[in-house]
């Protein structure tokens, strides 16, 4: 049963931020609501005020330029990302991720800003965007700041956002030369959340060795987490199956999975090991043929 709330509909971003500044602890922002309505119904959150930003079309955009990279407004739907030609061309892994995010109905109404702000460690976009070095631009009545997604998630369903801040924009830098990102989640139904998920970015030097790498795990800890030990194994190495194997073992050791109805802790570690190995290798193979 959803508890009663006062419904606030700002007509502009500025007005939304003013409402947020005024209500802070006593409000929740709704955009698509595909995650929020579930926890409202479960009574996990009982806001006095709900600020509806779904209609803020000024935050509904996808732009790309070679210098600044990709910018997506917070109210951009998953479906718009999935169908975007420029994203398919420049960041195909984002389209592949979106195609398996929940169902068409959810992607039609749910938004990228809402998904990231919900801070579910099992969410799909956060690992992929973090692996690509993505950031979020936050706004409040007193200004704006941009912070990397790496570090954005502080604890279970917690973010680094202040109570008067909301996500305005998601940014992804241009893909470097000889670099690729791959993502896979393990689940029983293709559109489910991952029992665990791994995103891997590998960037190669001209001589083919690994210049930089990011391994980001989904649903393997309280938050989306970087597997930095696994990254260390990859960086500077001449990549090979033996190296990928070692990176997988490192990620399995450093993750902090929790057992639940879907999988035990041990099984999650096993999956992290396998998926890290596979995704790092897949990213490497793609990076080799990427200009």
């Amino acid at each position: 049963m959803i508890s009663d709330f006062t419904y606030l509909k700002p007509g502009s971003v500025k007005e939304a931020l003013q409402m947020l500044a005024q209500h802070q602890d006593e409000c929740k922002i709704i955009c698509g609501g595909q995650s929020l309505l579930i926890i409202l119904r479960q009574g996990l959150v009982t806001p006095e005020n709900v600020i509806d930003i779904k209609g803020l079309d000024k935050l509904n955009y996808i732009t790309y330029d070679a210098k600044g990279g990709l910018k997506m407004g917070a109210t951009t739907t998953h479906r718009a990302i999935e169908k975007s030609k420029v994203i398919k061309e420049k960041y195909p892994v984002l389209v592949e991720m979106e195609e398996k995010l929940a169902s068409i109905q959810v992607r039609n109404w749910g938004t990228i800003g809402g998904n990231l702000a919900h801070a579910d460690a099992a969410g799909d976009p956060a690992p992929v965007l973090t692996a690509m070095g993505g950031s979020v631009k936050l706004g409040s009545a007193s200004g704006e700041r941009t912070i990397p997604l790496d570090g954005f998630y502080t604890d279970l369903f917690e973010t680094a956002m202040n109570k008067d801040e909301m996500i305005l924009e998601v940014q992804v830098p241009p893909r470097p030369a000889r670099s690729a990102t791959k993502y896979q989640k393990f689940n029983l139904l293709e559109s489910d959340q991952g029992i665990v998920a791994v995103a891997a970015t590998v960037t190669l030097k001209a001589d083919g060795s690994c210049q930089s790498a990011r391994i980001v795990l989904g649903n393997a800890a309280a938050t989306t987490m970087r597997a930095k030990e696994a990254e260390k194994v990859l960086i500077g190495s001449k990549l090979s199956d033996a190296v990928f194997e070692k990176a997988g073992a490192a990620a399995a050791a450093e993750c902090e999975p929790v057992a639940d109805i879907h999988a035990s802790e041990d099984y999650r570690r096993h999956l992290v090991r396998i998926l890290t190995k596979r995704m790092a290798k897949a990213a490497w193979e793609q990076a080799k043929i990427s200009g």
Binding site: I2, S3, D4, F5, T6, Y7, K9, I30, G33, Q34, L37, I38, L40, R41, V50, D52, K54, G55, R79, E99, A102, S103, I104, Q105, V106, N108, W109, E190, S191
Partner: protein, 161 residues
């Protein structure tokens, strides 16, 4: 308790209703407008029984606030039939026997309709992906896929006019 006036255009008919802002779209459609073709299934964005077409897109009406649909066009299963003539997708479901218990049917029809509007000449895999958000717990998927495929292949084109 706050009451909000919203305007919905459902199946080409205008409605004005006063609702509590926490009212879900499926509640507005079923309980306020009395259109019970849209089914309330899992209530957790999983099953798709409550699928309606909102502003041209399939959405799960159990997970959209009715206030967010204010001023928008909504198509439900009741709106598929025109002038006493069944919509091609309804005819195809009948011909293929694409129901067992029937509870998922209205949601399936709406997902199928949105899918066919968006996708020309779909493959079988695309059809299956198109109804990924709808669960048929009788597992009658094959006949549903056949029905959508038949409409996509133009088998019911004449019936449309």
């Amino acid at each position: 308790m706050e009451r909000k006036l919203i305007r919905l255009n459902v199946n080409d008919q205008e409605y004005e209703i006063y609702i509590n802002p926490k009212t879900l779209l499926v509640e507005a459609i079923r309980d306020h407008l009395g259109l019970t073709g849209t089914k309330r299934g899992c209530d957790t964005v999983s099953c798709g029984a409550c699928t309606v077409i909102l502003g041209g897109m399939a959405v799960k009406a159990c997970s959209v606030l009715a206030v967010q649909a204010d001023g928008m066009k909504i198509l439900t299963a009741e709106g598929l039939e025109k002038n006493g003539k069944l919509h091609p997708i309804q005819k195809a479901f009948l011909d293929e026997g694409a129901f067992q218990c029937g509870f998922c049917t209205s949601g399936m029809l709406m997902s199928a309709t949105a899918f066919l509007n968006e996708t020309k000449k779909p493959t079988e895999q695309q059809i299956r992906d198109g109804i990924e958000g709808n669960i048929c717990r009788c597992t009658g998927y094959n006949s549903i896929v056949r029905a959508i495929d038949a409409v996509a292949k133009g088998k019911y084109t004449e019936a449309k006019s």
